[in-house]
């Protein structure tokens, strides 16, 4: 494992940052998800050694990140805050921070140019940062986090304020880094952004880990809540009558030609639907699960 949290709590006086967090971060893209104030930034700052846990321990590459600055050779951090040396050009900013990783001027130049290219900022890298749009600032911040080829990339709300094209580029870059075998930890409070990047989630709420795993695994934990499935079909009312006879179906609501089905055992429903089509001659226009989206899962978890 690249990073582990062992019973970590963090308090700011009376304010709770994190409570009793035990988790591990492995390879691939993991999303740290939660509403504002959930403890995402505290989690990331603890992981990157900028904060010390009040109780418990954090280990990064087997070391205490607060005590071992050497671990940062393998870590790239893109902070949430919009903070820069405003008078520097984008290129100089990335170059300066890359040099502090111990590279000579020429090597740092090569690496920073490569990172700038990767985030799509080559054309604007010569401009002073103070002239950048919000999206450009986010991308140049990302470039400084990846220029030294880190094994773990930690991105705190990297898509904030980005235009759709920049957003797409960053999402692709995150997926690319994950596919390269790096660990990428991305925090966000916007669910669909996260869905576009990964299925691996760590859900935080009020400083606690609500759930972790893939979207599907987390959904499976929630079997006490009925799954919601939508079926669009011309003879909706007749189909509803048949479905209600199934054990796993707890309720059906009809809205014109759309059936909103609540099923404790969706597999049983999915097995039954083809039989209904064949035996009763029903036409089905669409069948879809409506609550595997992160929004739905999150709603369930915070209930």
């Amino acid at each position: 494992m690249i990073a582990t949290f062992d019973n970590v709590a963090k308090w700011y006086g009376d304010v709770i940052g994190l409570v009793d967090v035990t988790t591990e971060i492995g390879p691939g893209v993991t999303a740290l998800l939660g509403p504002n104030g959930a403890g995402k930034s505290t989690f990331l700052k603890l992981l990157t050694g900028q904060l010390v846990p009040s109780t418990g321990s954090v280990s990064l590459f087997g070391k205490n990140p607060f005590r071992s600055s050497g671990v940062y050779r393998q870590v790239g951090f893109c902070p949430e805050q919009d903070a820069f040396y405003e008078d520097m050009t984008g290129r100089k900013f990335v170059h300066y921070l890359t040099r502090l990783h111990g590279y000579g001027a020429a090597e740092a130049r090569r690496r920073s140019d490569e990172a700038i290219e990767r985030v799509g900022m080559s054309e604007n890298a010569h401009r002073r940062i103070r002239t950048y749009s919000k999206g450009m600032r986010q991308r140049i911040k990302l470039a400084q986090a990846i220029s030294h080829d880190p094994q773990l990339v930690v991105l705190d709300e990297p898509l904030n304020g980005m235009d759709p094209i920049g957003r797409r580029k960053v999402i692709d870059l995150v997926k690319e880094m994950g596919a390269e075998g790096r660990s990428v930890l991305v925090s966000s409070h916007i669910l669909h952004e996260v869905e576009a990047m990964t299925r691996e989630l760590l859900l935080l709420y009020q400083g606690r880990v609500l759930a972790e795993g893939t979207v599907e695994e987390i959904r499976a934990y929630l079997n006490q809540y009925p799954h919601k499935i939508i079926v669009r079909a011309p003879r909706a009312r007749e189909i509803a009558g048949h479905l209600l006879k199934l054990d796993g179906v707890s309720g059906v609501r009809i809205d014109n030609e759309t059936l909103h089905i609540e099923a404790q055992n969706p597999d049983q429903l999915f097995d039954a639907l083809p039989e209904l089509v064949l035996q009763q001659g029903f036409d089905l226009d669409a069948v879809e699960a409506s609550d595997v989206s992160l929004e739905a899962i999150f709603d369930y978890l915070v209930k």
């Binding site: 700011y12 930034s41 900028q50 940062y72 903070a83 040396y85 921070l97």
Partner: protein, 258 residues
């Protein structure tokens, strides 16, 4: 070697950061106060005495400008990075945290040295060559100014690593400890003043171009060797406090907590 290179990089960045914008204007104005006073005196007086030059230029440069600039720059050694929230970038590089402190102190020291040398050289040039204040004197005066500046800078920068209102504490230090307290006669209080120890250490140089006789009399109360150790101890102590503080204190998250 990597640490030395990183320290120099940080120093260069700190120097560049200071040498632009409003701060450059404000610091230059402050450093050039003696130069401006000189220009004013030169415009109204026909003949200029050396004592006028020493009184105006050197007195202002050393006793007022040095501690004030050290205070302003001292609180910004890490204050700039903390308030600009760029410290996060530095703290996530594979370097010990004191590198940033030492590097930035070095950069700000060089920045101040250049300003002071320009101010002194400009004043000397305005007063004219008959004052016998040549390049050697300017270099010597700049060196003394830098030593005093370095000690003050370390003190104020260290205070900033402990207290947020370091600027106010610094003002108290300059005007109360260095001012009122250090003037208490026969109390040994002068020993609390950095400026006193600088004068004791550099008595010969001061007597050569600043208040002749006066400094010698004041400096007689101290032993140059002892004062040199005292300055070194204050400097090293302040650096040690800052280093320990940086190595053991986390970076706070005001925005996230709020």
């Amino acid at each position: 070697m990597r640490i030395v290179t990183a320290t120099l990089l940080v120093a260069r960045q700190a120097m560049g950061q200071s040498a632009r914008g409003l701060r450059l204007v404000a610091l230059s104005l402050l450093t050039f106060v003696p130069l401006m006073l000189t220009a004013l005196i030169v415009s109204v007086e026909e003949t200029i005495q050396f004592s006028t030059f020493a009184g105006i230029t050197l007195f202002f440069s050393f006793q007022i400008i040095v501690p004030l600039l050290a205070l302003i720059l001292g609180v910004s050694v890490l204050g700039d990075e903390i308030e600009g929230r760029t410290l996060t970038y530095l703290y996530t590089r594979p370097l010990p945290r004191p590198v940033y402190f030492i590097g930035r102190m070095l950069g700000l020291g060089c920045f101040f040295g250049i300003l002071l040398a320009i101010s002194l050289a400009g004043s000397a040039a305005l007063f004219g060559s008959d004052l016998n204040f040549d390049a050697r004197h300017i270099a010597s005066a700049t060196f003394i100014g830098l030593v005093a500046f370095g000690v003050y800078l370390a003190i104020f920068a260290a205070i900033r690593t402990i207290l947020k209102p370091a600027l106010y504490v610094g003002f108290l230090w300059i005007f109360v400890v260095e001012g009122i307290v250090s003037k208490i006669p026969n109390s040994g209080a002068p020993r609390s003043s950095v400026w006193h120890h600088v004068m004791v250490v550099f008595t010969d140089q001061f007597d050569e171009f600043l208040f002749p006789g006066k400094v010698r009399a004041m400096a007689d109360v101290g032993d140059p060797g002892q004062s040199m150790w005292m300055l070194a101890a204050i400097f090293a102590g302040a650096i040690a406090v800052a280093v320990i503080r940086l190595q053991t204190t986390e970076q706070r998250l005001p925005a996230a907590v709020a």
